[in-house]
Amino acid sequence: MTGATLIQLALALPLAGAAFIALARSRPNLREAVSLATATALCIAVWSLLPEVMAGARPSYELMTLLPGLAIRFTVEPLGAMFAALASLLWIVNTIYSIGYMRGNREHHQTRFYIFFAVSIAATMGIALAGNLLTLFIFYEMLTLSTYPLVAHKGDPQARRGARTYLFILLGTSIGLLLPAMVWTYAVAGTLEFTPGGVLEGNIGDGLAAVLLLLYVLGIGKAAVMPVHRWLPAAMVAPTPVSALLHAVAVVKAGVFTVTKVVIYIFGLDFLAHVPAEKLLVYLAGFTVLAASLVALRQTDLKRLLAYSTVSQLSFVVLAALVLAPLSEIGAAIHIVAHAFGKITLFFAAGAIYVASRKTDVRQFAGIGRRMPWTMIAFTIGAISMIGVPPTAGFVSKWYIIAGAFQADNYFVLAVLAVSTGLNAAYFLPIVFRAFFQDEDQAPPREHGEAPWPMVAALTTTAVFTLLFFVFNGPVVDLELGILGGGP
């Protein structure tokens, strides 16, 4: 199949899946089978694109011309290919997990859940494969709107409040800051195409470019750079599979992915290097890394703790992208993958603990590792990856970010890395310690072992991914080398 056909498939499959899920609403087993089949088909389609991209090709497909000179166009480049491949792979695992979670928890409106989940994945594919900023923006907004019903899923006042915060911050930043940044870019550069080397050089003064960069970094609210991070903890009212795939992988990674794309393909590394306020944004991202870690330290609700950890890790990617050294850009790209594997494992574990024991507070986790050994071992692997210790994925990306920081002689970044590693250890290790080495304070209200098997299978799989990525990261690094010079 040609690249264009595969792009069409990647966009159409999840939407078609959503339609079939709606048709199969009265037969849960069929409905879940459709979900799983769609996820698998999507994964195959996206992964079939990879060899071409690795060989240096940039498959492209133009859907339509929206305004004169502005088309809805998709172009697969290494960064997007990696993001799409990651999201489609984890969607399969997440679907298996969802089946266990939604049934184990006897959630209502399960059909709606699966439909909007599929639509969100379609939007994610659109973001990943977008060939210009306008296309990306369209799917960016689609992702916000299609995840809103998932966040509000429970329908109680707390869920409604959380969903409202979620929607208003994400729509507010994108309409209020990202849209004018984009129109401004178009007004000065005359194009919004993602172009290696950027499109802004020579079209805008350095001072204004700094303002524009600020609009972009804060306007891309999904990257959760402080002070626009509040939507992410608020989104934790969603069912855990949503938190796991969307708020640890698809939505938040869409944010940092967009930042990275804007830095590399709209501004260009060489141009940004002499934009004056660029350093300020490095500090802002560095501040977010540390501040979010400190907030995480004080959380007792596991999902909120993980959310703040995500805020911190996302700013790592932004930080790495803004270091502007070639190796740090690779580090930013790889951290998208590494963090995804680790964080989805942690969320899966949090959901498994909730379904099995109804516990959400980390202070209640004493001795839970003995009841749920698989879950807590996976949790430990995820936590180690967050800290960045071998043999996990987190170490690989940290390695590249450190190497990039040395390339650029940026010791601030090194200091942030060092401190945040310590903070990560400080909030994750006590949980692990308590789970394995303390005795239960009191017997739980009802006896429980592991969560339903699909959930355990899913979280084991992602934990294994986390470990494997430590060894087999070569292809991803090779792929991402392509973002720097055009071809590999």
Partner: protein, 495 residues
């Protein structure tokens, strides 16, 4: 060629059908007559729109008396766009809203109601198609009087004070306009707009002309509901029969804006030194205030129709803001927003008309939980609301794109205007989301719990309108071409 007669037909069809509708008795004949005539003029408007993309202006001499002696009908890209809006809104509202009209309008009055509807359509179409200042006044009166009847026709007692307020203010507006063109006629001796423009050059004593500019501008601003002369609008929209709201919200204020732009840009601007600055300086602050104040009021309003009425006042501000930027992209933004806003607001009010066939009251508390009972109606409402907010992929995004682009081009003030536009978009998110949350998240009240979805044919009409919001968001070719030609046509006079 018979196609040369189209500018006359587009007015004549609804006007001629009006007495027929008044004479028809029995079940639905007068409705059928109105719908048919409306659809016919819609078809004619489409032909004219296609023709208007190719030539700058189609001129038609009524009774073969050549202008400036006879009455001239003049179809430009601008007027063709307005024709599409008027006839399209009327057709969709009539066909989709039959059930709602049947329950709102007493059977004994129905044939008169449809006659008034056709007169309103004919009047509005006449204003837009006419190239003669006095003729515009006559059609303005025809459409206004007919619209007063439509608003009061529902038998809602609260509609009567509302329509009286509208009548008083509308009459003041029309009188101001008449005084203005009277003064111009005194000084130039002509009523043909194109002729007027050239003859003002030769006027030596400009004082009466300046007075005329004031009267015409103010009168039309009043009729267009531009802030702060909008006070007649919220109640007139809120208490009229629901389908009437869908129709007039889509087109009536925009027609006054059309006349306003035509006078200020074409008749005055090329002829009076510095008029462009005065125009922009007068309207831009009003537009900005209107956008912010009306959006803020909409955020606090709990009656669904009043909320959307205030939203309309804010959206009129967008149109005026685009025009006051005095650039091609600004005017394009303003004019295409007439079209896009008509699509969005017309759809939303039609959806509300459908909801009103199931519920007696339309406060946010009353519609609690209705989204679960009428998912398709509320779904269409939501699609149009996305367009109102300006979510990419909908028609509203195209307007917003051009408006932001135009504001950025206009220099230092531009950044501030961008902020105004975007802040008000966020305010729109807020007031729309109050509806969404009420409709979906709350437990249904007693009345909403028993509500059923409207029948399929009605949904088909509603969704045609809703999908048009998406279609013109992805394929804005036709309205964009018409708006662009309108913008260059208006600015072409500014040399």
């Amino acid at each position: 060629m018979w196609t040369a007669q189209l500018p006359a037909f587009v007015i004549a069809v609804p006007l001629a059908a009006a007495p027929v509708a008044a004479l028809l008795r029995g079940a639905s004949w007068s409705w059928a007559c109105a719908a048919l005539a409306s659809a016919a003029s819609f078809a004619i408007a489409m032909l004219l729109a296609l023709a208007a993309t190719e030539v700058p202006a189609i001129s038609y001499a009524v009774g073969s008396w050549p202008p400036p002696f006879g009455i001239e009908l003049r179809i430009t890209g601008f007027s063709a766009l307005l024709l599409l809006i008027i006839t399209g809104a009327s057709t969709i509202a009539l066909i989709g809203g039959k059930a709602s009209l049947d329950s709102d309008i007493a059977p004994a009055r129905r044939h008169y109601f449809y006659a008034a509807w056709l007169l309103a359509v004919g009047g509005l179409v006449g204003i837009v198609a006419s190239g003669d200042a006095f003729n515009i006044f006559v059609f303005m009166e025809v459409s206004s009087l007919a619209t007063y009847i439509l608003i009061a026709a529902g038998g809602n007692p609260r509609a009567l004070p509302a329509v009286f307020k509208y009548l008083v203010m509308g009459t003041i507006g029309a009188t101001f306009y008449l005084i203005g063109i009277g003064l111009i006629y005194l000084m130039t001796g002509t009523l043909n707009l194109v002729d007027m423009e050239t003859r003002i050059h030769d006027v030596t004593d400009l004082k009466p002309i300046y007075a005329a500019v004031g009267f015409v501008t103010l009168g039309l601003v009043l009729k267009a509901g531009v802030f702060p002369l909008h006070v007649w609008l919220p109640n007139a929209y809120a208490w009229s029969p629901h389908v009437v709201t869908a129709f007039i919200a889509a087109c009536s204020t925009k027609v006054s804006l059309y006349v306003l732009l035509r006078f200020d840009f074409m008749v005055f601007q090329g002829s009076l030194g510095g008029h462009d600055l005065q125009f922009a300086g007068f309207l831009m602050p009003l537009a900005v205030l209107g956008i912010l104040v009306a959006s803020a009021v909409a955020m606090t309003e709990s009656h669904l129709k009043r909320m959307l009425a205030y939203s309309s006042i804010a959206q009129i501000g967008y149109i005026v803001l685009g025009a006051s930027l005095m650039s091609v992209s600004g005017l394009t933004a303003g004019i295409i927003h007439m079209f896009n806003h008509a699509l969005a607001k017309g759809t939303m009010f039609l959806a509300i008309a459908f909801i009103a066939t199931r519920l007696t009251a339309l406060r946010l508390d009353d519609i609690a939980g209705i989204g679960r009972r009428m998912p398709w109606t509320l779904g269409a409402f939501l699609v149009a609301a996305m367009s109102l907010i300006g979510i990419p992929g909908t028609a509203g995004f195209i307007s917003k794109w051009y408006l932001v682009l135009a504001a950025l081009e206009s220099g230092a003030v531009g950044a501030l205007l961008v902020a105004v536009v975007l802040v008000s978009s966020l305010m729109a998110v807020y007031y729309i989301w109050r509806v969404v949350e009420a409709a979906w998240s709350s437990a249904p009240g007693a009345e909403a719990a028993g509500a059923r979805e409207v029948p399929l044919p009605m949904l088909a009409v509603l969704w045609t309108a809703a999908l048009a919001n998406i279609w013109f968001g992805l394929q804005p070719g036709l309205p964009l071409a018409l708006s662009r030609s309108a913008a260059t046509y208006l600015l072409g006079q500014l040399q």
